[in-house]
Symmetry: C2
Subunit: 269 residues, 2 copies
């Protein structure tokens, strides 16, 4: 159990990183991020790719969180504050009463990440996913269905943004990811590593239910609305999910769940 450090003044410089966290985005500042809530903190403490720099918890929750706090590494400060102080620091009512600042310590480039994967592997390659809810949902589904990695193009938002981590229920800290450089040819990279690329599109040639599994499969998904770029679709196996005619496409996170569930089921049968 680490020593708890009470904070009484919202302006205390030691908790600067927690100030007004709703409006700020720590990502990009040395790979820092905010983790919220017990489930997310558990994943942060389990991970070898991330490390906690500090925690800030509601004083009245310290006892209930004892088993979690026991896993906090030596030397990581755990600040405590009364509810009113906590809310004043965070800038909004912090119902969960538990926050941490974390740092990413494993930042492989896409090539290095793919080189680590096992012979049978599934990954997501995401294009221009700019919505944090969708990014969180994509990681949540990736973790649920045993996806080994996520590749992001340079137009994707950051999976370590607070809301994305929260919506992912911490899965953004579980599934390894790497970002492609702007202009990098992701499909060529996938081919070099033996991945079959399937591109989801409402006008895809193959119905998902008919898709044959391959040992290494990369699922390409683009933002709702514009979808994937036509040249990406043309260079991949294009796959559709049949639906009621005349409706908009599915939510991209839901799409990932349907596709990853299909691939996992086929691999098992």
């Amino acid at each position: 159990m680490p020593t708890l450090i009470p904070v009484a003044d919202p302006a205390d410089p030691r908790i600067e990183a927690y100030r007004d966290i709703r409006e700020r985005d720590l990502v990009g500042r040395q790979g820092l991020f905010v983790a919220e809530g017990r489930v997310v903190l558990e994943k942060l403490l389990l991970s070898r790719a991330y490390q906690p720099l500090s925690l800030l918890i509601a004083a009245n929750r310290a006892e209930a969180l004892a088993s979690l706090l026991a896993q906090v590494p030596e030397g990581v400060p755990v600040f405590t504050a009364e509810r009113a102080v906590l809310d004043a620091i965070a800038g909004f009512p912090l119902h969960r009463g538990i926050l941490a600042i974390g740092r990413r310590i494993d930042t492989p480039d896409a090539d290095a990440l793919l080189a680590r994967l096992p012979p049978r592997a599934t990954l997501l390659m995401l294009s221009a996913i700019a919505n944090h809810d969708n990014m969180g949902g994509l990681f949540r589904n990736a973790a649920a269905f045993g996806t080994h990695a996520v590749l992001l193009d340079s137009d994707c938002c950051d999976p370590l943004y607070r809301k994305a981590i929260r919506v992912s229920v911490g899965a953004a800290l579980l599934v390894p990811f790497a970002r492609l450089a702007r202009g990098e040819d992701g499909l060529a990279l996938l081919a070099r590593h033996g991945f079959t690329a399937i591109a989801l599109s409402p006008s895809g040639e193959t119905e998902l239910a008919d898709l044959k599994p391959t040992p290494r499969t990369a699922v390409l998904l683009g933002a709702e609305g514009p979808g994937l770029a036509p040249d990406l679709i043309a260079r991949a196996t294009s796959v559709r999910i049949s639906m009621t005619p005349g409706l908009d496409s599915l939510n991209v996170a839901t799409t990932s769940g349907i596709v990853l569930h299909h691939l996992m089921s086929k691999a098992r049968h």
Copy 2:
């Protein structure tokens, strides 16, 4: 093309229903609701279960929306306002620039709704879904995969709440729904109408991929966290979606997408 009625004063009593719409919930007031955005409005104008009572649009969008406005029934007022007035009425920046107040005119009870369905039908029966994002996502998937109806227990939030309609991309206005009375035995109702009830649960006995289709299937889904009540699961065919051990369950809307896609694919093959 209806006559456009300019509104210059945010306090104009004629647009009272649009005031501070983010904070208010019209639902329950004679079945009124707020529809936002072009796609949702298109679905409202197509529907026979709902009718528009009025529209409020940004004056500078009237020309671009001409084809939509041409479908507005005679006698339905279309108010226009400059952007600043519009935002002052709505209480927040209204990027989409198009709102309508609608009314539900078809409100069957659950028994009457089921009596209308075709011999082969799929429906969702939702328990304690209190999150409007999830409710919207559930309707979006229901529409995408041709689900014929949605039944809500008395603990579900309203699908006609503004955010639920928006997240559903208007599908909440497409898929017929009915609410069970508090304490009403939904499973008995389903059985009377010849529906096989399948209950989704992480500990379900049957793996989804092995589920045999039946002519009439009702998919039971509960809120994330608590899930479905044990007595509901015990009285239905319990079904699981296999996933990585140790992770939280899937998002409920994603779950609906996976299950409804499976049922639609099986029905086709």
